[in-house]
């Protein structure tokens, strides 16, 4: 064939299934992708492979008995889920949390944010083709956070550490010195990491300008967390609607300008540094005293409803609980950050190639446990 003939050849769009079992879909997520050659024309997300009916299970459990199930929502940041749920029940039942517990919660929630961003950033670089090298360095750092959590509660992934009215156990004596050592080390690690990746040519080529999420679209889709902040929305619930004792600490909210994959990457790295600032302040100010309010085993909140939200590592995590003054929630809805953050994926990937689709999807950072519940 001549070149002219080749140029006029028509290609048929065809459908490819990516997932549910595929290393780049971060769990059991499926995308039905319509392709024109290598270019993405459209995608349709398919959910439900990890649906366990957690909201229904909540109706059959006591208020305290639901905490272990919250670990299984976003299992990359189980502590934050614990915290979000406990805050909602405390708001509903009017329970006051002791000071020491509040400080512990803040320290732990921020450590969890760093651990989550380690995975988010590492997995995104993995998707960009930096196969497992940066990922495993970040995993090494995350292990140290998990060691700290293990000190607290003996668990490494699903902690069940927070309680309604406080936390499960007090910290052991060696925790705070180990934390101080960890902060020093990870500071050095982050700057080292930045040195290698901030101006890395391959990362810039793969991530800069790719998968742009405009600010208006992000607001319209209800997108929150680092993804929204990378699009220039200065909205962080720790500042906008402070819960626990976040109003006592000094920290900045990093935002991006372009809303591309690179900005989402940058925002996460900077958030890690800001989290370290909060942890440092909190571990200096932490007072003594009880770690749990005097709360009965079976809690019967007054009839009514409540919505409490926190700035989880992935975005706004909320619990909407309806109580009928019995020992179990009448209805418990989880605002799924990961599901809602996927709402704009279609517009973000249209026109990009398959390889870009993978990194755009990776830069959103979702956990299927939370999407499907």
């Amino acid at each position: 064939m001549t070149t002219e003939q080749l140029m006029t050849l028509k290609t048929e769009p065809f459908v490819v299934n990516i997932g549910p079992v595929h290393p780049s879909t971060h769990g059991v997520y499926r995308m039905r992708v319509t392709l024109d050659g290598e270019v993405v024309l459209d995608i349709e997300p398919v959910f439900g492979y990890l649906h366990r009916g957690i909201e229904k299970l909540a109706e059959e459990r006591t208020y305290t008995g639901f905490i272990p199930l919250t670990d299984r929502l976003d299992y990359m940041s189980a502590m934050s889920n614990n915290l979000g749920y406990c805050l909602a029940v405390e708001k509903l039942a009017g329970i006051k949390v002791p000071e020491r517990a509040e400080y512990l919660r803040v320290i732990i929630a921020e450590l969890q944010r760093i651990a989550n961003h380690c995975i988010a950033v590492g997995a995104m670089l993995n998707d960009a083709g930096a196969f497992f090298t940066p990922f495993l360095y970040l995993f090494r750092e995350r292990e140290k956070i998990y060691d700290l959590f293990e000190m607290l509660c003996g668990q490494r992934l699903t902690y069940n550490y927070m309680r309604i009215g406080g936390v499960g156990q007090d910290i052991p004596a060696e925790f705070l010195p180990a934390l101080a050592k960890f902060i020093q080390k990870i500071r050095r690690f982050i700057s080292e990491y930045e040195f290698f990746l901030k101006q890395n040519e391959i990362l810039l080529a793969r991530a800069k300008g790719v998968g742009v999420l405009p600010k208006e679209l992000a607001i319209n889709c209800g997108i929150s967390g680092p993804v929204a902040r990378a699009s220039g929305i200065k909205w962080d619930l720790r500042k906008a609607d402070p819960y626990s004792i976040y109003d006592r600490f000094e920290f900045d909210i990093p935002t991006g300008e372009n809303g591309d994959c690179y900005d989402r990457y940058r925002v996460r790295i900077e958030e890690m540094t800001q989290s370290l600032r909060i942890i440092e302040q909190a571990s200096k100010q932490i007072p003594g005293g009880p770690i749990r309010a005097d709360v009965p085993h079976l809690i019967r909140p007054p009839a009514g409803e409540v919505y409490a939200h926190i700035e989880a590592p992935k975005g706004e995590l909320g619990f909407y609980i309806v109580s009928d003054n019995s020992i179990a929630p009448y209805r418990c809805h989880v605002r799924p950050t990961s599901l809602i953050n996927l709402a704009a994926l279609r517009q973000m990937v249209r026109g990009w190639k398959v390889a870009d689709l993978i990194i755009i999807f990776g830069s959103i950072d979702i956990t299927m446990g939370e999407v499907d519940r």
Binding site: G48, K56, D241, P242, Y307, R331, I340
Partner: protein, 147 residues
């Protein structure tokens, strides 16, 4: 701090514009009639000074005699929030207007409510089960559902 707009304030705003739209003013929420939902939501979203342009979440609760659907809106500029509620009666074929035309973020959440609670959203572009498989019988989050 996000200030929850008092229901009295909203009712006074809405009362003149949409007579009969507000069924009941709760302590911190406003119960709107189903057929006025889209207008009210559009008004709250697009009016200057209100600008509730961010839809936090949608959820539904089964109270046996009716289903209550809850919408929380936030104004990022003014840092205020409001909770809208609406009810639909009848268990055989409950339906409400879809808000996907106003918020793209409503898409998956309305599908979720349809899937688990069985409320149809009129005007939704792709209303089908999201978590459960096609052919699944019943709606598991309903209170009378038996496994």
């Amino acid at each position: 701090m996000t200030v929850a707009l008092s229901s009295r304030e909203i009712v006074s705003q809405l009362g003149g514009k949409f007579p009969g739209a507000v069924a009941e003013a709760g302590k911190d929420s406003v119960l709107v009639k189903g057929d006025a939902l889209t207008q009210v939501a559009r008004y709250l979203k697009e009016t200057d000074g209100l600008k509730f342009e961010y839809l936090n979440y949608i959820t539904a609760v089964d109270y046996y005699s009716y289903f209550e659907v809850v919408y929380q809106l936030t104004s990022l500029d003014h840092n205020r929030s409001v909770i809208l509620k609406t009810r639909c009666y009848g268990r055989a074929n409950p339906s409400l207007p879809s808000l996907t035309g106003l918020w793209q973020g409503a898409d998956f959440q309305e599908r979720e409510i349809y899937d688990l609670m069985g409320i149809k959203f009129e005007g939704h572009p792709n209303l089908k089960r999201i978590f459960l498989w096609e052919g699944f019988e019943g709606y598991p989050l309903r209170k009378d559902w038996n496994r």
